[in-house]
Every structure is written in C-alpha cells, then in structure tokens.
C-alpha cells in the first residue's frame, strides 16, 4: 500500500531540540489542533532501551496522557507485562488535574498482580501488574512510569505513534542505545522520520504534534496508517536460546535449530500411517489421508511457556497426549508425512486479517503469529495444511493464511514464499431459489447454495453446530428476511477447491405484498447490504478486502390466476469497487431473476467514499425493485 498518508500529518520533523518532559500538563497549554476530534492526547512519552549486553537490556518508560472526555476511560488502566525473563525495577503513576496540579501519586505496591490471559491459551507464564487510577474529573492527565531489566529480548517494542483512533500525539520520543557491535536494525514506515544520532551513539526518533485519526468504517487497520518504527537486533538471547536473526534466512536457521530432532515417532504410529496410505500411489491422496488422520486424533490446546513460545512439543508428545498448538501440530504432521517419505516444510506465517509478514526486507519478531505446513506436490498446486483445524478440507487454504508471505523453515534456513491465492472467480457463491408463489403473497420455497474456496466458509458454522444451535444460527443468518426455515442439509463438495453445499426448505408468509388485485413481488428478496451514511468529508482511505463473486437465480412459479403485469428493467452497474447485473424475464408461468454481484478488493482514496456508498445504495434499490402481478379471473 503506497497511498500518500504523510500529506495528512502536520510537521513531522527530526528536530535537534532536546526532548524533555514538559514543565506542565495544564490542559490549556494543548494546541487546539490536537484537541480536535480527540478523546485523549499523549502529552509526552519517553521510551529508552539501554542495551548493556544482549543478556542485559534495561527499558525505561514514561508516558503522560491527557484524558479529554469520558471516552478516554481506557487510559485510566495502567499495565506492564512481565515474564520469567523480565524483572520490574520500578513502577509508579501520578494523576494531575486540568491545571496540571498533582492530585494523587501511586507507588509500586498499589499495582496489583495478575496472570495474563490471551483469550485462547490454556496456560501462559505471562503476568502483569495493573492499576486503575482515580480520576479527579475531566480533563485530567495520567502519567505512568516503569523500568524493567530484561534478561534478553526478542524484539524491541515497535514505536507506533497512534495507540488508537481519536488519539493525538504532542511529543513522543524513542531511544535505543546499544554497543556498536550489537547490530541494531530499524525500519521507518508510514512517514516515520529518520532518527538522529546522539554523541553517545543513541539513536533517537521523535514524533511531534500529530492530530487524532477519526473512526471511519472500512478504513485500513491502524498499523497501516500510523507512523511506525520497527527496531530489531541482529542477535537475540532468550530463555537459554540464542541466535542470529538479522535476515529472514537466519531467523529460519534459529527456528530450525529449535525444531531439529523433534520429529521422532513411536514405531506403532509409523506402521499405522504406512498402512493408511498403502492403497494409493497418488501423493496428493496420501497427504490428505494422513492430514485427516491427524485431524481426527488431535485437538488444539495452547500452552506457551518461555522458549516454548517458539519451540514445539516433540512429535512423540503430541502422539501421546493428543493435543498441541499450531507449532506442535504442524511439526507432528510433518513427522507423519516424513514416515511415508513425503517431504514437507514447517512454515511460519502471520494469520488472520490483522497480521502478516509485511516487510520481506526487514526481519523481526512480531510480524508472524502462527505456523502451518507446506507440502509441495509434483505437477500440482502446493498444499498448505492448517493443522489446528479438525474441519478444514485438505485441499483448501482458508483466507486465514492465504494470499500472503510465509517463512519456510528447514535445514537451509528461512525462505519467504507466497501462499495460495484464489481469484475472484474461484471464490464463488452460487445461490438458487425456487419459490412456489401463492395468491395471498406467501410462498413455499427451496434454497440451494454452493460456495467455493473463500465462499465455502460462508456457511461453515453449520458444519460445526448441531440441532437447535444450528437451526437458530441459520434462522439468524438466512439470506432472505422474514423466512421460516423448515429444514436444512449441509455437505462438502468434492472438488479441486473446497466447496460446501447447503440445501434448505423454507416458507414465507409475506414474500409479496397484496393490495387489492395486485401483488408486489420483490425480484431479488435478499437482505440489503449494509450501506453506512455518507456523513461528512472522509479523511482516511477506504480498504475493501473481500474478493468474491455471487450469482443468484430466483425462480418464481406462479399459480394459475396470477399474471405478470410488469417487470423491472434490466440493471447494470459498473464501478471501480464492483459490478452488479440484474435481469428479469417471464417464461409462461415462471418469473426468473438473475443477479450477478462482484466486489473488487483494494485500497481507495477517501474522495471515492461517497461513490462507493452510492454504489451500495443503488444495489439495494435495484434488489428491492418489484414486479407487479395481477390476480386475474
């Protein structure tokens, strides 16, 4: 993404003025431009890393944030995370009123101690010290300071200007001092300035007077907009493991050292998988048989302890306990495939919407968060296996990890490659509706939906839920409003790409509204697309991530005595954001509407926002158009 964000920011300059804590946090000293649309303003932040040696890094942190209104309440919670590699040397906080006078001071003992929860792990050894400060009234300023000793760091905290939207920055300083042979690397993105070099060798970056970013729907994630500095060392030392991570290749070598030798399996399991694939000579089939065997035998449990955050359980352990996290399960699957002489590679990757390896030219921790398995197949597409899922089809790489860089890790070190990419045509949803229309406006109907690749995930919840839970989910997510769903069946479609087929029977009490002798029948009775209000002038770019095409066919069988009086004209819309086509025709007692809708992914400049909203509104209006049927003799 190379859209121009820097033009949006006022004066980002690397000044030689010494960064210093302001004399007063009085709120009326804040420049007006920073209060605009802001809930909170960072008055001053100073982050300083002092690398005394790779096993002894001191972090000093001070941050003062002025809370302007009650939306800034989150800033009253102060927390510092620590683990067995970190020791907290000092901890404190001070609260100032609107005039900048001290109203309360907090000491280390005021911070409570908790176990950290990440929301998905069974157990981690991360902990945190937490304090909720009392606020004398708004506006006020909260200042937080701490110092930690680190027995080794994997990465330095990224220096990201914006903590959130509606957050302005007055003065923000980041310093790293390291011995010349330490090998410090950095990368400035999104308009972050070059650092100054101080006489003692410290590198210093400064942000000054950055106005708050607004909350706008469909804007790119904060880390794509905010000026950010990534800092990483060439070598790391952590929990007894050390290595060179100056390039992706070297990081791969370090990671390989943690994996090596952990792929031994018990003889019984080796025998089992050999027998499993004995009946076929097709490699792809063998891989899928083994993948499915692994899916049935294991489940995902995340336990992250120290270097265990990077080193997987051995294959033997997974075989014994039947569980593991993404690293352990991928390594286990690799071992199973190795037992039948199929080579595969452990692949480190950034998964989900918000994480990916963004900088092939800058190696650091923090860009990846997941592990999958890469299985190249001769004369065919590479298979990328998601080993934590019991349901994922073998042949399809979901959009959790598709369309991005992965770091292959093997004895040669690390290599960046692209994962699978599915085209818009491949991500296809094909819907067919058949309605038996009644003269009172009601209808008995069937719905069939075939979804391929990314579109196969639309109804995948129904593969997991059962009974009433599944019925309730479908009733809520049915494509047509006010439908009474009677039955449904879901199954996978055997194809080169994953596919799911959903079949459902439903009725509607009011498909068409009856008024007098007329029935008004909506030609495409789908739930409308969400179309946000256009609001005022948009500041931020717009990002569309969907890359799908949807075709719908609506067949209305009319009873005797109901004649077609009017059908809407064909509609065709073409915009940079997507295309829409709808045509209606009448064949005897059958009324057929065909609809084609495609959305194009991309990042669009803010000026195009109202055109985009206009497009969605036009699509909704076209879908809602009515055919008129007459009740005849």
């Amino acid at each position: 993404m190379t859209f121009k964000v820097s033009a949006f920011f006022i004066a980002l300059c690397a000044c030689t003025v010494l960064a210093a804590q302001p004399a007063s946090y009085a709120v009326d000293l804040l420049p007006a431009a920073l209060k605009n649309d802001a809930h909170a303003v960072r008055r001053y932040r100073h982050i300083r890393y002092d690398v005394r040696s790779p096993e002894n890094i001191v972090l000093q942190f001070t941050e003062a944030v002025t809370l302007l209104n009650s939306n800034a309440k989150g800033h009253t919670t102060l927390a510092v995370f620590y683990d067995k590699q970190t020791k907290i040397r000092s901890l404190g906080a001070t609260v100032y009123d609107a005039q900048g006078k001290v109203t309360k001071k907090y000491k280390e003992k005021d911070f409570r101690d908790f176990a950290a929860q990440d929301g998905f792990s069974l157990y981690l050894d991360d902990r945190l010290r937490l304090l909720e400060v009392a606020v004398p009234g708004l506006p006020c300023t909260v200042e937080f300071t701490y110092e930690t000793d680190n027995k080794g760091l994997l990465t330095f905290n990224t220096f990201m200007a914006y903590a959130s939207t509606h957050f302005a920055v007055e003065e923000d300083v980041y310093e790293v001092k390291a011995p010349t042979n330490y090998g410090l690397r950095y990368k400035n993105v999104n308009g972050a300035p070059e650092p100054e070099k101080l006489p003692d060798g410290t590198l210093r970056w400064t942000y000054r007077n950055l106005p708050a970013l607004p909350d706008e729907i469909l804007s790119p994630p904060l880390d794509a907009l905010s000026p950010t500095v990534w800092v990483a060392p060439n070598t790391i030392a952590y929990d007894g493991s050390s290595g060179d991570i100056s390039t992706w290749e070297n990081l791969g070598k370090w990671n390989w050292a943690l994996l090596e030798g952990r792929d031994k399996l018990p003889a019984a399991t080796v025998e089992k998988v050999r027998q499993l694939v004995a009946g076929t000579s097709d490699t792809r089939e063998k891989v899928c048989l083994i993948y499915e065997y692994m899916q049935q035998r294991t489940r995902y449990v995340s336990i992250q302890l120290g270097i265990g955050g990077f080193q997987p359980f051995t294959a033997e352990e997974v075989d014994k306990t039947g569980y593991g996290d993404c690293k352990a399960l991928s390594n286990y699957t690799r071992a199973l495939l190795k037992a039948v002489d199929i080579p595969s590679t452990y692949a480190v990757i950034g998964a989900g919407d918000d994480r990916r390896i963004r900088y092939p030219d800058f190696c650091s921790f923090g860009q990846a968060n997941h592990v999958i398995l890469c299985v190249p197949i001769k004369n065919s597409d590479t298979l990328w296996l998601e080993c934590t899922s019991q349901r994922q089809p073998c042949v399809y790489q979901g959009d959790f990890t598709s369309n991005r860089l992965a770091l292959l890790v093997d004895k040669n070190g690390g290599k960046l490659v692209q994962t699978a990419h599915y085209t818009q045509e491949q991500n296809r949803l094909e819907n067919t509706f058949q309605f038996e229309v009644k003269s009172d406006g009601g209808a008995a109907a069937t719905f069939q939906s075939n979804g391929y690749a990314a579109a196969s995930e639309d109804y995948e919840a129904l593969l997991r839920y059962q009974g009433k839970e599944a019925d309730d989910w479908l009733a809520l997510n049915f494509p047509v409003a006010n439908a009474k769903v009677l039955t449904h069946r879901i199954a996978g479609i055997d194809s080169v790409l994953a596919g799911t087929r959903l079949f459902s029977e439903f009725t509607m009490s009011r498909l068409a509204t009856v008024q007098g002798q007329r029935l008004f029948l909506p030609v495409c009775p789908l739930k409308p697309l969400p179309s946000p209000a256009s609001g005022g002038k948009r500041m931020l770019p717009m990002e569309i991530r969907m890359d799908k095409v949807q075709t719908d066919r609506f067949e209305y069988r009319l009873p005797a005595g109901l004649k077609v009086d009017f059908t809407p004209e064909d509609k065709f819309l073409e915009t940079p954001f997507g295309t829409y086509r709808r045509a209606v025709r009448n064949e005897g007692n059958l009324l057929i509407a065909e609809r084609h809708f495609a959305i194009h992914p991309g990042v669009y400049p803010p000026e195009q926002w109202s055109a985009f909203i206009d497009f969605l509104k036009k699509v909704n209006a076209a879908d809602a158009e009515k055919a008129i049927l007459l009740l005849g003799p």
């Binding site: 069974l122 049935q296 039947g322 009733a475 008004f520 509104k617 008129i628």
Partner: protein
C-alpha cells in the same frame, strides 16, 4: 444419644455406624469403564450433542482432625461424541486462596479411555501438566487438558476441594453447557447449621432426606455429628443454551443453593449469622462502609444550604439528585458497601455504586428529606427470592426518599437515570430499605415505560421526490436508552450518523437532538431531509413505504422454539404517525388496510389505522407490550404477534398517475 462437645472434651460413645452415602445407585468407581460407555454413538436424550456427562457426582461433608474442613469430592465422566465436544477436556477449577485459610484442591486425577483395535487404552493426566495459575491476589485457578481426547473417548476427572469456610456450602450445578445424563449430589449437613435450600431452574430434581449420626475425628478424639443427609438427583438434564432476550440466565440453570440461616451455639459454634433482614440491617448500621458512612456529615453541606431554600420537597429532591448524579462519576463497580470514606469519595469525585448512593442519601438527609439506603442484588448477580434472607447476594445500594406517603427510588451511579426511573438491572425482585431501627422489604419494578413517539410529514412531488420533516420523542426508559446510545457513540454527531445510516434512502439535511444534559426530560430528535428512498417506481405505479423513521423490518424472534422465558428490559409503547401529501396528477390505487391485533391476555397490542382525506393520507401505528416476562409456552404467540407487525409495516401505499 449425646453430642460430643466440640471445644475439646473427649467423649467416646459407641454408636451404630451408619453409612453416610445415600447414593441410590452404587456410585461409579474411578477406573471402571464399561464397554457400553466406550461404544456409545450418541447421547440417548439429545441426538445433536457433541459430548455429554455420563454422570456428575458430588459429596460434601465436614471432616475433622486438627482443624475442621468442609470437604467436597467430585467425580464426573464425559463421553465425547464428536471433535467439537473435546473442548470439555480443557478444565479449570477456581479456588479461593487469600493469604490465610486458602482453599485447596487435593488428589486431582484425570484419565482418558480410548478403544483401539478392540482394546481399551488408558492415558493418565500427568501431574506436571496441571497448571496452578495465580489468577489474582485471592483466586487460584487449576488448569489442565485431559490428554488423548477425541471423538469416541470417555474421560473422567475426580478431585477433592477442602475449605476452611466450613459453614459455606457452594451451590451444586446440575445443568451444564453440555447434556448431563445423571447428576447426583449428596450433602451431609451438621444439625447445628441451618440452611435454606433453593432449587433453581426448570428441570426436575429428586430430593431425599435422612437423618444420621457419623463419627468424625476431632482434635485428639472422635466426635459424633448428628446430620441431615440430603441427596439430590437429576437425570437427562438438557444442555443449557443462552437465548436472545434472556438476561438473567443464572436464574434458570438448574442448580441447588444453600443459604445459611442460623447456627445453633449449644456446641460452641459462635458464628453470627443474620437470620432475617432485620439483623442484616442492624449489622449494616454499624458497618464502617455503610452505617458509619451515613453518620458522617455530608461533605456537600455547603451546597445543602443553597438547596434548602427550595420550598417544594419534590423539586428539592430532584435538584439534590441531579447534583449528586452529575458531580460523581461511577468507577464501574457494583457494591452494597462504599469503597472509601465520604470525604475521599467527595475529593476524588469517583466511587463505587454504594459510595455514590450513600453520598446521595447523606445529602438528602442534610436538606431535611426522609431518605434511606436500599440494598439489592442486580440482575446479573442472581435473584433474592421473596422471604429469603440471602444477604450474601447483595451487590448494590441505591437510595429512596419518602415524601408524604410516596416512595421515590433513585440510582445516582447511572449517568442517565432519574427519580423513579431505575436502570433495569436494579429491578430484580426483592430489595431491602434500610432504616435506622427497622427495614422494609420491597419489590422493585420498572415503573416507567420505554416510550417512543414519532411524527413524520412527507410531501411527494410530481417527479417522485419526497421531502419530509419530523420528530421522534423518547420518554422515560426510551430516553434513558437513547442517552446511553449517544454516550457510547461518543458524540451526538456520531450517534446521528449511525442512526441515519441505518435508514436507507434517507438523507437528512438538518437534524438535532435535545436536551442532552437534562435526564428527566424526554429526548427529542428533530429532522428534515429528502426521503426519496421510500419511493419505488413499478411501471406506471409508485410504491411508497411510509414507515420511514422506525419501521420494524425484521422479527426479533427467529428461533422456531424456545426453552427459557423471554425477558424484556421494560414495557414498551411505540406510536408512529405519518402524513403523506400526494401531488396533483396522482390518485391512490390502494392503501394498507387498518388492523387491530392483540395477544390473548391483552398484554401486547398492535393497532394500525390508515385513512385518506383529499390528497393527504394519514397512517398511525401503535405497538404496546406491557409485560416484561413471557413464558416459553407463550413464545409462539409472541413471535407471531411481532410477525404481524412486520408484515403490516411492509405494505405499501400504491399511487397511480391519473
């Protein structure tokens, strides 16, 4: 038969030793798995279950020795049918572990059994794979994942919980998120401890009771305890599933609760338990964070002087309430005891719910009004059942003022509530007004309604464009809810944008909301704009969807059936009036027909009237729902009532060019 003194004297008496277990079936032994259990393919009473509890058994009794402990032994066994059900293998047990007298878990065991090639393979949970997490200063969580669990596995867990809080019996939950084939709980209650037992939820629970005498080591000798042995059994308990419009789910999950009523001191136990609310009130009167808080002079006594000038008591109360509500900000904690002393709360302008409302009571009293605190349990916390003194459930304090003979309730911790408009979470059955010498049990109900009234004037011109102006007025709970929505949106502007964005085809040229700073006034939104989106062309006809401002587009109830009641926050009265002026050159082809429907008991009504005079069409719609609780049996009627409203509001005004 005599009682042994529990304060030390030894008295060995030979007695009949009665087995203490009333288990109607022999309790399953750990490690003895039957082939039937392993080969089960489905839950016999829920075909869609991905896993279920074969049994969940518990036994609670006092055990002696150097110290007395309350010991609970639990043993449960699960059959996993499909992969999703393997999630039950991730277990956690939370125990209370303050610095002194921490509860402990002993003898935690878990084993998984799998059928492989006709043989049963056992996998034990390794002690090293049990993590003890220090969740906070007073809580510890034992976390573990039972190994080798997948579709077909049977696994079992057993452990012992030992607590020195031996008079406090934890509730036993029969109903979990997965079905339970058989849940059996036995509790040996020492005769001197009197509990009130409450059975919650819908599923039948069989209760048996017997008396018995048990010998127990005590100090350096033996004691005899006369006990009441209670056995609770529930079978084929369905999985508990959250449904929409269900806010107090803990009230419906089948469980048994034990609330200590009193302790007989004749054997040396000197535990003071409040036996009725009078005692609770008495204790609160001397509590540092409650009674003592109120004894101190209000830090706002200077402002009190200016308020005292107001003659009318109702106005005076209103002014005091508004002042306290806007002065303090709530820190998010519900509590019935204040977290700081009055001066501290006043200085920091922040406090928990009791701190703020006790400050309110203080100031009301200072200006001469008859005001008292009211203690209660909020909805999420569980319901205090009528006639029960469940002081352990108290989690909130609000205020009440009495003027003449009328009681006015208020909660200043909620930024948008007003006098006699309590946030719905407070309206949860029994609440206790604490007076200096006495108490009064009251039932807090939503006295007000959620009122929404809209007016819309639309003018259609010859080219099919529609201009409109109108307003919406939100009353009482309607205003309260909208003010919260505006606060959450961040600003008036953000709220209006989101609200307008919801209404497709409408562009507001002007819109205002007022008043925002006066909680007891209705909230009014006024707007003007183009409503072109409500008109569609179909051949030579124009179709107009008239309910532009607040149309019920979809039925809120989509599920076919319902297991638990439907809970609404408050009763609702919603009325809409639309006047549509059509231009010269157009005639009305058809109008939606007027309609009147109601539920059999009249608690929900819908009236729609449509009329025309010259070139003006007037439509009115009124929906009232007066009950806040509907039973599962009434669900079908309720769902169909809402469908009628949705269907009617979908109907169009059809115009034809003359």
């Amino acid at each position: 038969m005599t009682y042994a003194s529990l304060t030390g004297a030894l008295r060995l008496v030979l007695l009949l030793y009665l087995p203490f277990s009333l288990f109607s079936q022999k309790a399953p032994k750990f490690g003895k798995i039957s082939p039937e259990e392993l080969s089960l393919k489905a839950c016999p009473f829920d075909a869609s279950a991905t896993a279920f509890y074969l049994f969940d058994n518990g036994e609670t009794q006092l055990e002696g020795g150097a110290v007395i402990r309350l010991v609970t032994r639990r043993h449960f066994r699960v059959k996993v049918l499909q992969q999703e059900g393997a999630a039950l293998a991730d277990q956690k047990i939370v125990v209370y572990t303050p610095e002194r007298d921490a509860e402990t878990i002993e003898d935690l065991k878990a084993v998984a059994y799998n059928l492989e090639n006709g043989k049963v393979v056992e996998t034990k949970l390794d002690k090293s794979a049990i993590f003890k997490e220090k969740t906070s200063e007073t809580l510890t969580t034992y976390k573990f994942a039972v190994p080798n669990v997948r579709a077909g596995t049977v696994f079992e867990v057993s452990y012992e919980l030992r607590s020195s809080y031996y008079i406090s019996i934890d509730p036993w939950i029969f109903q979990h998120d997965y079905p339970v084939q058989r849940s059996e709980y036995q509790v040996n209650i020492f005769q001197d401890f009197n509990y009130r037992r409450s059975l919650m939820g819908y599923h039948p629970v069989d209760v048996k009771e017997e008396r018995g005498i048990r010998r127990m080591p005590m100090g350096s000798g033996m004691a005899e305890l006369t006990e009441i042995i209670q056995n609770y059994t529930a079978v084929n308990v369905p999985a508990f599933r959250i449904e929409p419009y269900l806010y107090t789910d803990d009230n419906y999950r089948t469980a048994v609760r034990f609330d200590l009523k009193s302790v007989d001191p004749s054997n040396g136990f000197t535990v003071k338990v409040a036996t009725d609310w009078g005692e609770v009130a008495g204790n609160l009167a001397t509590n540092t964070h409650f009674g003592d808080f109120l004894k101190k002079k209000s830090p706002m006594k200077d402002q009190a002087a200016t308020f005292k000038a107001i003659a009318d008591p109702k106005q005076l109360m209103q002014q005091v309430f508004s002042h306290v509500q806007s002065y303090y900000s709530w820190n998010g904690d519900f509590s019935y005891l204040a977290d700081e002393a009055p001066d501290e709360v006043y200085k920091s302008k922040k406090g928990n719910s009791a701190a703020i409302n006790l400050s309110l009571v203080s100031l009301l009293r200072e200006v001469g009004l008859d005001a008292n605190p009211v203690v209660l349990s909020t909805r999420n916390n569980g319901r205090i059942l009528p006639g029960q003194c469940s002081a352990n459930l108290l989690d909130h304090t609000i205020a009440v003022a009495k003027i003449d003979t009328t009681l006015y309730y208020m909660d200043a911790s909620d930024a948008f509530s007003s006098v006699n408009l309590l946030p719905p979470q407070n309206c949860n059955g029994t609440a206790i007004i604490v007076r200096k010498e006495t108490y009064q049990a009251v039932e807090l109900k939503q006295n007000q309604i959620n009122g929404i009234h809209s007016h819309l004037n639309l003018t259609l011109d010859a080219s099919g464009n529609v201009q409109g102006d109108g307003d919406l007025t939100f009353n009482d709970y309607g205003a309260w809810a909208k003010r919260w929505e505006i606060a959450r949106a961040g600003s008036e502007k953000a709220f209006l944008e989101a609200w307008a964005g919801d209404k497709s085809g409408i562009e507001f040229s002007k819109s205002t909301i007022a008043p925002l700073d006066s909680n007891d006034m209705p909230l009014k939104i006024q707007l003007q704009g183009s409503f072109n989106g409500i008109v569609e062309q179909a051949g030579n006809l124009l179709l107009v969807s008239p309910w532009a401002l607040d149309q019920e587009k979809e039925n809120p109830f989509t599920s076919a059936t319902r297991d638990y009641p439907v809970e609404f926050y408050y009763p609702t009265v919603k009325s809409s009036t639309v006047k549509l002026t059509i231009p010269q050159g157009y005639v009305v082809e058809s109008l939606p027909k007027s309609l009147k429907v109601r539920l059999p008991d009249g608690s929900a009504r819908f009236t729609c009237n449509v009329g025309q005079k010259d070139n003006v069409i007037t439509l009115t719609s009124m929906v009232t729902v007066t009950r806040t609780l509907y039973t599962p049996e009434e669900y079908a009627d309720l769902k169909s009532f809402y469908q009628t409203v949705v269907d009617k509001e979908l109907e169009k005004i059809v115009l034809k060019k003359a």
